[in-house]
Amino acid sequence: MNAKVMQLSGINQMLLAASKLKSLNWAEVPGQLFKSLGIPLLAVVIFGVLWGAVAAQIDTSLGKVPGPAKVWEQATTLYQEHQTERERESKFYERQEKRNVKKLAENPDAKVRIRPYTGPPTFFDQIWTSVYTVATGFLLASLIAIPIGIVCGLSTTLYKALNPIIQTLKPVSPLAWLPIVTIIVSAVYITDDPMFEKSFLTSAITVMLCCMWPTIINTTVGVSNIDKDLVNVSRVLRLGWFSNVFKIVIPSSIPMMFAGLRVSLGIGWMVLIAAEMLAQNPGLGKFVWDEFQNGSSDSLARIMVAVLTIGLIGFLLDRMMLLLQRMVSWDKTATIR
């Protein structure tokens, strides 16, 4: 999986290089290819070799620290476990369906119940849970942070009023938020037919609380630094409050806003894993914690698979934000990294 993504980013860079070099010099192509694809690949290989060499030297209570080969093996095992679990699930539903049909044939008035499958979540289920949770938390954070950032940037009074609060809440660790959020969610969120799991809400809200600050601060700075001439244009045209915000303020602060959003998403992803570990909420964090508690000889390798996956997903999330940023950015010449 590792190699695959490295390849992906390499292709990306190659495309970039190709688009820059409109008049491609064919004699240079092998060199270019090596630079954009070969060098990162070489780095990965060196990293893998070093990892393997160092790992073999360390003895732990669970045996030797696994090298790349062992980790790869566990990755395939995790995939197979996922496949088996899916098979079991579909078989379970098949059986249930047959049973129900039979029941109805015997007695048309019989109550048929469709019970959901309750097997243990696989590694891939946990990935999905984590991604879904971080997306929710991040979206909520953005919905709150962008408007606050805009009004703070527009009004110095509001900025002065809110700044101390923002600066105080910003450095709070997710581990400190978690107990408060957990207790409040269990107190407030009481329904007979819950739409969301409590654990999901706790994780998502913790992510939200931790990751909205960079967006607020960056949006504020972006909005308050709008070119004075553009502000004057808006005043001369007598744009209303909403037109001013949507036609002048937001477009000109989009670069700053997105810089903040990217930082926010990165923080959100880190926070989520920590929160899942601490609160035993489903997700990749719980997977890591469970393996740690399990303590079998494979555990360390399985944790490493999770760590690499967490890293890769974080990387992909950042790339996605970058793409989005490029799409909405009006300044196509600016280099966005």
């Binding site: 001439d229 004057n232 244009v233 005043r235 001369v236 007598r238």
Partner: protein, 290 residues
């Protein structure tokens, strides 16, 4: 003219600064007729932009005021369109969309969609920008951006067109082109224009009157020169016209004999102050960003 079109009466303005109030303008008086082209000329930092911004309504005079067609000016409005020194187009909109933003705002409910489109295109044609209508500011040259800025201002059908060194950032050749375009547009539309310039030739070539300002602080109008040259004026013919050269000499005399201190005390003081202001404002931004 019996009824006054635009009247600047006893304008004074003080800016609050850390070192106490700074009086930039003192008792500026000027009456401008409809269709008149007036240039403001003076040394850097004397307060030309400040005068223009007061007329635009972007600044409030501390004393005195501006009266346009019998009504006092106290806030910005599209009837006093401004062409800014560095074009100030919205970089995320095309030339067409930049003009459209202004047209939609000014003619909302007065023109149909179709009429608006024609009006936008008409104004862009006026400044010879029809070929690059759908390009963004980042894709066109400095002169073209300035043309779009002028088209945007003209499209508002302002009572007064205010231009703050509209061609200051352009090279000499482009500037000459732009001046010719402006002469042509002015001949067709006969707008009331106040233009700030540093360029003596530009002032004489374009203006009906040149208003020369004394050096700050507490700057005011030193002299007003009426340019009595027939229109249309052609750059090349003018170069040999004795009256043209006389006017030119008059302005130069004012600037370099009566108000001579382009590099000495006053200016260096103000420029120092500007630097200080900039430094303090960047500090503030840093604090905010931190």
């Amino acid at each position: 003219m019996s009824i006054k079109h635009l009247e600047l009466s006893h304008l004074s303005i003080e800016f609050p600064t850390p070192a106490g109030p700074f009086r930039a303008l003192e008792d500026v008086n000027l009456d401008i007729e409809k269709g008149e082209f007036v240039s403001l000329i003076g040394h850097s930092g004397c307060g030309k932009s400040t005068v223009l911004n007061i007329v635009a309504g972007l600044y409030q005079a501390t004393k005195g005021g501006v009266i346009l067609d019998g009504k006092e000016v106290n806030e910005p409005a599209p009837d006093r369109a401004v062409v800014f020194q560095n074009h100030s187009l919205l970089p995320w909109l095309t030339a067409y969309e930049n003009v459209e933003l202004a047209v939609k705002q000014v003619f909302k409910g007065k023109k149909t969609k179709h009429e608006m489109r024609e009006w936008i295109e008409h104004n862009l044609e006026l400044v010879h920008m029809e070929h690059a209508m759908h390009k963004r500011p980042g894709e066109i040259s400095g002169g073209m951006k300035q043309r779009v800025g002028i088209a945007r201002a003209l499209a508002m059908e302002p009572k007064v067109l205010l231009m703050d060194e509209p061609f200051g950032a352009l090279d000499a050749l482009t500037r000459a082109h732009m001046q010719d375009s402006l002469i042509e547009i002015q001949a067709r539309l006969n707008n009331t224009v106040i233009m700030i310039t540093h360029d003596v030739d530009e002032a004489v070539l374009l203006s009906d009157r040149i208003v020369m300002m004394t050096n700050g602080p507490a700057a005011t109008i030193g002299e007003v020169l009426t340019i009595d040259l027939p229109r249309p004026r052609e750059r090349v013919k003018m170069a040999n016209d004795p009256r043209y050269n006389y006017y030119r000499a008059e302005v130069l005399k004012f600037l370099y004999e009566r108000q001579k201190n382009p590099q000495s005390d006053t200016k260096s003081q103000t420029s120092e102050k500007n630097v200080d202001e900039k430094a303090s404002s960047t500090n503030k931004q840093d604090e905010e960003a931190a």
